[in-house]
């Protein structure tokens, strides 16, 4: 049944850091998982590698030039593929210019078949073939035949581009042609072995070195034999499709084939395949140069960055050279690489230095790297360092980061991240060494982000909860400030609270308080704020309209026309409000249960006092019935009683959610102020009052009503008309046996009889005891029994006999000793058994003697206020008299609060 347990305040800071480590571990595992299953981190590494490695300050070889088959060349020379003569022409030019080495990257795998050539061959066959000539050509003469054959021969020559090229190649003697291999692990022997010219270019050693291949594509035999060497032009792409590596060796059918780069470099140094030695898995020896490779003979060449806005290798157009625009002498002694860069001709590759690079330019970079020894190396300790970095990052994420504060952690992570990447960058750009540290750096960043997000979310959640709590705190403080009368500060606090039903109620109450103080623009501000929170609430809109109207209305001065403000019922507010049949004239004060007004019955012109209880819609069920019952019980008990000295009840009812009792409007004041030593009434007056109260009590007791709270505050005295009235039957009880409810002890302790204090059954004699106490106080200015604490007082009342009144005031008549002594007896049996008896005794007291001494000054006769004014002041005096206050009840009633408690409180 218990709904909410609100937990507050834990000691210790354990939780967060423990789970942070766990989260860190999860991140690490996830990172590893991603790294193993996908290429994400590898690609990132590659990108970083591209970025860093091309920031090198290395200078490319000056000996290398590139002649490109570019768009301009295609446009001018013709569609690709070009006739072989064209290539032959350039080769001749370069040979003439004495270039050192020429590398041609176009694949010449297919013979150039000219359709015309085939026909010519056929014609030659017809003319000069083995079988006897056809009849059509039978009569061909010798000269004609030889002329035709010559012509056909020269035409054949012209058209046989392959032969032309072959002869050019042979004449140049320094051209390297490419071959292509399909890489993969062979299962058996290849379909066809390598042709002889290819074998010539293979390394002398036959070992298992290099990348295995299953198939090969070789240039035409004629061309291959005429070339200086045939080397492979395989490009090895990484997982992201970019070319960063150069496979120096390919293994086919047991033979080790060098790459074009290697071959070209060798040739330019006047070395051949026989000068290439292998240290398998370690290095390739080119003459005296040692090239470190990985296990499969692959190297990482340096891709040179652009300098001064121009690419590393100057690329000349084929057409420019062929047409002579660029003199071929430019290439004297150089390594010339010819290849296609035009779109649609051949493939372009993504490389570190450019996203689209032709194989020719790649070859340039590679060859330069080989010649200058510009490689990116990975020393043997690379693996160890990377592993160490990983472990460092993992340790940091799991153990250190959770313990750091947000700021420190961020700085440390940033520092570590920068360190890792900085080291890699520095090594790549300056020392051409590659430590793949991107993965550890990425894991570090990821781990930090995840942990930070988690912490942020936790704080946000915590903050939301704190916001909620602080909103409630603000509301309570607002109520507290409102209760202290600091309405402006209260409004400030309420403004910080988000919308809720209870807040709206509080704001409405605040508006009423402002109204009471006549601060109408503030009322308007409050309603405007309420409207901003809840636009649609009809009550709020109505309130706002009224508030606006009020702040514009000129308020008429005059006490009679406008009520105090606390009863502004709906309507224009300027007319006089009505309650039942009574017109409300002004507010007299605040009673225990609600406001007390002065009203007027217009029909008979009688002025009345109206006690109200506001039954708001909030009271419901049992509480509502209870509250109403208690309120009207006063009316009922007093209504039963009709006596000149008991306040008369005229009317009781309910209207506008307000319950009210209309009673006799009493002039004069209560007797509290006459309990002070310097303001005592004359003895005769006191005795007179006592007599009349006793008679009133006697009457009440006969009606089976016990007042239970007889004290000066509940006796109204008007000296002008010499009237005495007993009031405030709010806690009186009807002592019919059928309605008795024991267990409640109520009254004002100083005036309570011993049996009342003990919670025993009481009757009218208890009232008479209280009357005795009251008289004692009115005569002497002090209570008969007092105590420093409640306990002491109660002890006194229970055990200590009351002092003789004449010991405090010797001038009093002797009879009073007996009368008061009897009235203040501890046991009811010893007291007056009826009010009538006591009244009689009081009347018989000889007042003549007493009148001689009148203590104190004149009786204060203030302006005729009603008996209900200045209740707060009465309270102060009451306390001065010592515990003259009513006991509060706090009942333990199933399922309900204690509405009873409210109505028993007296100010």
């Amino acid at each position: 049944m218990a709904t909410s347990r609100r937990r507050k305040q834990t000691a210790g800071r354990s939780g967060p850091w423990r789970t942070d480590a766990l989260v860190g571990l999860l991140v690490v595992l996830a990172a590893f998982g991603v790294h193993l299953s996908s290429d994400l981190f590898r690609d990132l590494e590659s990108r970083f590698y591209d970025f860093a490695s091309t920031r090198s300050s290395r200078v490319p070889s000056e000996r290398i030039a590139v002649i490109a088959i570019d768009d301009q060349s295609i446009a001018n020379i013709g569609r690709w593929p070009w006739p072989r003569e064209v290539h032959a022409g350039l080769i001749d030019q370069l040979a003439q210019a004495q270039a050192k080495t020429v590398a041609h990257t176009a694949f010449f795998f297919e013979p150039q078949t000219d359709r015309g050539l085939a026909s010519l061959r056929e014609l030659r066959e017809q003319i000069d073939g083995a079988p006897p000539p056809a009849s059509a050509l039978a009569d061909l003469g010798e000269t004609a035949r030889s002329h035709l054959l010559d012509f056909i021969g020269s035409a054949e020559q012209k058209l046989d581009g392959d032969a032309r090229l072959a002869s050019s190649l042979a004449r140049a003697g320094n051209v390297i042609l490419p071959s292509l291999y399909s890489l993969g692990d062979p299962q058996g022997r290849p379909d066809q072995p390598l042709p002889a010219f290819a074998l010539q270019s293979a390394l002398a050693e036959s070992s298992g070195a290099g990348l295995p291949a299953v198939q090969s594509q070789q240039p035409l035999a004629a061309l291959g034999a005429a070339a200086r060497g045939v080397a492979h032009l395989n490009q090895l792409a990484d997982s992201d499709g970019a070319v960063r590596r150069e496979p120096l060796l390919v293994n086919f059918d047991g033979h080790v084939i060098p790459s074009m780069g290697l071959m070209v470099a060798a040739q330019s140094l006047n070395l051949g395949p026989q000068d290439l030695r292998l240290l398998p898995g370690e290095a390739v020896l080119l003459g005296r140069t040692r090239i470190e490779t990985d296990a499969s003979g692959t190297v990482l060449p340096q891709f040179y960055p652009d300098r001064d806005g121009r690419p590393a290798f100057a690329v000349d157009s084929f057409y420019d050279v062929a047409s002579g625009k660029i003199p071929a002498s430019k290439y004297a002694g150089k390594i010339v690489i010819i290849g296609a860069t035009a779109a649609g001709v051949g493939t372009l590759f993504n490389t570190p230095v450019s996203p689209a690079l032709s194989p020719a330019v790649i070859l340039a970079h590679t060859t330069s790297s080989i010649l200058n020894g510009h490689f990116i190396g990975q020393p043997v300790w690379t693996g160890a360092v990377v592993l160490a970095a990983l472990l460092l990052v993992v340790a940091y994420l799991l153990a250190l980061l959770p313990r750091l504060s947000a700021a420190t952690g961020a700085w440390t992570t940033a520092g570590l991240f920068a360190l890792l990447l900085g080291v890699e960058y520095g090594l790549l750009s300056a020392a051409a060494t590659w430590l793949p540290l991107v993965f550890p750096a990425a894991m570090l960043l990821l781990g930090h982000l995840v942990l930070t997000t988690r912490r942020f979310l936790a704080t946000e959640a915590g903050k939301a909860k704190t916001d909620e709590e602080s909103a409630e705190t603000n509301r309570m403080m607002g109520l507290a400030l409102q209760g202290q009368g600091q309405l402006d500060l209260a409004f400030d606090r309420f403004r910080r609270v988000p919308h809720s039903r209870s807040l709206m109620d509080n704001l409405q109450q605040l508006a009423r308080d402002f109204e009471r103080k006549r601060q109408f623009h503030k009322v308007q501000s409050v309603y405007e704020h309420m409207a901003s929170l809840d636009r649609d609430d009809a009550e709020v809109r109505a309130g706002l309209r009224r508030a606006r109207k009020l702040s514009q209305t000129v308020v008429l001065a005059g006490a009679s026309s406008h009520p105090g403000g606390s009863l502004l019922l709906d309507g224009a507010g300027v007319e006089q409000p009505m309650l039942g049949r009574y017109q409300i004239e002004k507010e007299l004060g605040k009673g225990a249960m609600g406001v007390v007004y002065q009203g007027r019955d217009p029909k008979i012109g009688r002025t009345v006092a109206i006690k109200t209880l506001a039954l708001s819609a909030e009271f419901e069920g049992a509480e509502l019935a209870d509250a109403r019952e208690r309120f009207f019980r006063e009316a009922e008990t007093a209504g039963r009683l009709q006596h000149p000295h008991i306040v008369t009840i005229f009317d009781a009812g309910e209207e506008h959610d307000l319950a009210f009792i209309a009673m006799e409007f009493l002039q004069g004041r209560d007797l509290v102020e006459h309990t002070q030593v310097d303001r005592l009434l004359p003895v005769a007056t006191v005795l007179d009052i006592g007599e009349r109260v006793a008679l009133a009590l006697d009457y009440a007791h006969r009606q089976n009503v016990v007042h239970r709270d007889i004290k000066p505050a509940n006796i109204m005295y008007d000296p002008a008309s010499d009237s005495v009235k007993v009031t405030d039957f709010g806690i009186a009880r009807i002592t019919d046996a059928s309605r008795t409810k024991t267990g409640m002890v109520l009254g004002t302790p100083s005036f309570m009889s011993p049996e009342q204090l003990a919670g025993h059954h009481i009757d009218g004699r208890s009232d008479l005891y209280s009357l005795g106490v009251m008289l004692f106080q009115l005569l002497t200015g002090v209570l008969p029994l007092r105590g420093d604490s409640m306990a002491a007082l109660m002890y006194q009342i229970a055990n200590q006999p009351a002092p003789d009144v004449r010991s405090l005031r010797p001038d009093l008549p002797e009879a009073l000793t007996d009368i008061l002594g009897k009235a203040l007896s501890k046991t009811p049996q010893d007291r007056y058994q009826s009010g009538r008896d006591m009244a009689q005794d009081l009347r018989r007291v000889d007042r003549t003697a007493a009148d001689r001494v009148v203590p104190g000054g004149a009786l204060p006769m203030g302006p005729g206020g009603s008996g209900f004014e200045k209740t707060q002041l009465q309270t102060a005096r009451a306390i001065e008299n010592g515990y003259a206050t009513t006991v509060v009840t706090q009942s333990v009633v199933q399922g309900g609060g204690s509405a009873e408690g409210g109505s028993d409180i007296r100010p």
Binding site: R7, Q9, L479, A480, E623, V892, S898, P907
Partner: protein, 261 residues
Amino acid sequence: MIFEYFSLTDPGMVRDNNEDSIALDVDNHVVVLADGMGGYNAGEVASAMATTFIKTELGRWMTEGGYEANGREIKRAMEICIDNANRSIFNAANSNPQYAGMGTTLVMAVFQGVRSFIGHVGDSRCYRLRGGEFVQLTRDHSLLQEQIDAGLISQEQAQFATHKNLVTRALGVEDTVLLEVNEYRAEDGDLYLFCSDGLSDMIPDSRLAAILASDGTLEAKTNTLIDAANAAGGRDNISVILAYARSKPLRKGLLSRMLGQ
């Protein structure tokens, strides 16, 4: 002296809502517990107003100079704070019909070094367990207690009295209230229990002492107390604040720190 606190409130088994309110200002060592009463939900409002107000105001006072204050000044500050809280609740009760009749009891404490100031109004209590000895530090401001003190009824009769819950002092019922505040010395190992009558009415003192003297964290003991009160009927809202005094902090080992204790 280092103080460790734990607090918890529970509506109990019978009531629908919780009219108790608790507030802790750990930095300023201010502890407040209030048990509200009044029609409808007014009890909640009264007790919440009291605890919020006192925690805020007294906490602020302590921050602004309470550490240098002497005993008399602290007591005076507590009294003034209570007086202001009382006035605001009283006025709110009188001006707002929904809150008519609301009031609240209160027990509070301010710990300063080796001194403890325990104040109360009404029948919410403070107990102390010191070296095996369990005493009730506050004397209830209730009619029953006064009757006992006046010799009108005996202790045995008190147990069967039907009007156990009538208090003679409360916040919000009159426009002034008198706080009873006393100063005690705080010693190493002291365990203070602040509770509303929802706990002390359900469980006899001997049982309270046994639970507090047992081993365990403050949290565990608080939960045991509340569970015991609920098991005995839980007829009212139950609120508990525990304060434990130590003269020097414990050094926790690495392992226990890693395990989060």
